[in-house]
C-alpha cells in the first residue's frame, strides 16, 4: 500500500502490458532424449514402471518412453552455455530471475518473492529416447490482484512441447506468482 494514497501500486505498467502475448523463438533441447536421463527422471519420481526401459513392457508405446511430464524438464544447459549459478554471484542480483523462460523478456515488476503456482498439462503422447524436444513459450497473460499482504502479480506462461518433427507432446500452462 502506498502510504500517501492508500491505493496499492499498479505493477501492470504499459511496459509489462506490452509483453503480454510475447512469444519466444522455438527452443530445441540441447540433445535428444537419452535413456539414462529418462532413468534418472523416473527414479526421482519413484515410478518404477518398466515402460521406461523394458521393450516388452513398452510394446504398446512402440518402445521405451520417458515419463509423461518429462518434456517440461528436458531443456538443459549446453556445454558452452554460461553457468546460471554465476549469475547469483553478481552484486545487483536480488535472488529473483524475472526472465521466466529463455527467449522471453523479463517481467519487470519490483516484487521479490517468486513462487511457482502450479501447472495445467494437456498431454498428447510420451517422448521417446532419441527424439529431440522443442518448446515454444509465450506469456499468455500477466495480471495483478491485491491481497491482504499487498499486490500479487500472476504470470501465465504457455509452453508447447513437440518433437523436432512438430508432433505434439504436451501443452503446459504454468502460473508464476510474484509477491
Amino acid at each position: 500500500m502506498s502510504a500517501a494514497t492508500g491505493t496499492p501500486p499498479d505493477y501492470i505498467t504499459p511496459a509489462v502490458r506490452a509483453i503480454i502475448g510475447a512469444e519466444a523463438p522455438p527452443l530445441e533441447a540441447h540433445h535428444p532424449v537419452e535413456a539414462s536421463e529418462a532413468r534418472r527422471f523416473h527414479q526421482a519420481l519413484m515410478d518404477d514402471a518398466p515402460r521406461y526401459w523394458d521393450p516388452a513392457a513398452a510394446s504398446r508405446y512402440g518402445g521405451p518412453v520417458a515419463p509423461i511430464g518429462f518434456p517440461v524438464h528436458a531443456m538443459r544447459r549446453a556445454e558452452d552455455e554460461a553457468d546460471p549459478l554465476d549469475a547469483m554471484q553478481q552484486g545487483e542480483y536480488d535472488g529473483v530471475d524475472r526472465r521466466l523462460r529463455p527467449g522471453l523478456p523479463e517481467v519487470q515488476v519490483p516484487l521479490k518473492r517468486l513462487m511457482n503456482g502450479g501447472y495445467e498439462y494437456e498431454l498428447f503422447r510420451y517422448a521417446r529416447p532419441g527424439e529431440r524436444i522443442r518448446v515454444r513459450s509465450r506469456y499468455a497473460d500477466i495480471y495483478q490482484r491485491n491481497g491482504r499482504t499487498g499486490p500479487i502479480v500472476f504470470v501465465v506462461i504457455e509452453d508447447d512441447y513437440e518433437t523436432e518433427h512438430g508432433e505434439r507432446l504436451l501443452r503446459s500452462t504454468n502460473t508464476i506468482i510474484l509477491r
Binding site: 511457482n116 498439462y121 498431454l123
Partner: protein
C-alpha cells in the same frame, strides 16, 4: 543385491470406476532433502538455492528448505497413472502449489472419482486428487482427466 519389484500398473477399465469412489491413499516419505536433490539432478536445475540451502530459505522468509512444487505435482501425476491402470491415457492434469512440503513431512496422495462419462465413443474418468501432509493440510490440490479402455472391447 536387493531388487525392487518393478511392474506396470494393474489393468483397469472404465467399468472399474464410479462417481464418488475413493482411490487408495499412497503415502510417500518422510520426504528428505535427498528427494529434492535427486529431482534437481534429474532436471539439471540447481538455480533455486532455497530448495537446498536452509540459510537462504530462511533469509527469503521461508520456514526452511521446501521441496519443489513440480516434484510434488509429478509424484501426484505418477500416482494418478498407477490408480488408473496400464491402459489409461492421461489427457489433462492440473495441480496447484498451495502449501509447502518440507523435509521430514509425509505426503499422503489421495483421490476421488468426480465423474465418469462417454463421448464420441471414448470413455473418460475425471478425478480430483490432492496431497495432504501429516497435519492434514492440503498442500497440492489437483485434478485429472483420463481416457480408459472399456472392458471386453
Amino acid at each position: 543385491m536387493l531388487k525392487v519389484e518393478t511392474r506396470e500398473p494393474e489393468e483397469r477399465f472404465f467399468e472399474d470406476f464410479s462417481e464418488g469412489q475413493e482411490l487408495p491413499t499412497v503415502t510417500k516419505g518422510p520426504m528428505m532433502v535427498g528427494d529434492q536433490v535427486r529431482w534437481a539432478g534429474a532436471c539439471d536445475n540447481y538455480e533455486s538455492e532455497f530448495h537446498h540451502d536452509e540459510y537462504v530459505a530462511k533469509a527469503q522468509g521461508l520456514p526452511g528448505i521446501i521441496l519443489s512444487g513440480p516434484l510434488m505435482a509429478s509424484l501426484l501425476m505418477t500416482t494418478v497413472m498407477q490408480w488408473m491402470g496400464r491402459g489409461a491415457r492421461l489427457v489433462r492434469f492440473f495441480d496447484q502449489n498451495r502449501g509447502s512440503t518440507m523435509p521430514r513431512d509425509l505426503a499422503h496422495l489421495q483421490g476421488r472419482i468426480r465423474r465418469t462419462y462417454e463421448e464420441a465413443g471414448k470413455a473418460f474418468v475425471e478425478l480430483e486428487c490432492w496431497i495432504t501432509n501429516q497435519r492434514g493440510e492440503i498442500t497440492t490440490p489437483g485434478s485429472a482427466l483420463v481416457e480408459l479402455p472399456r472392458r471386453g472391447r
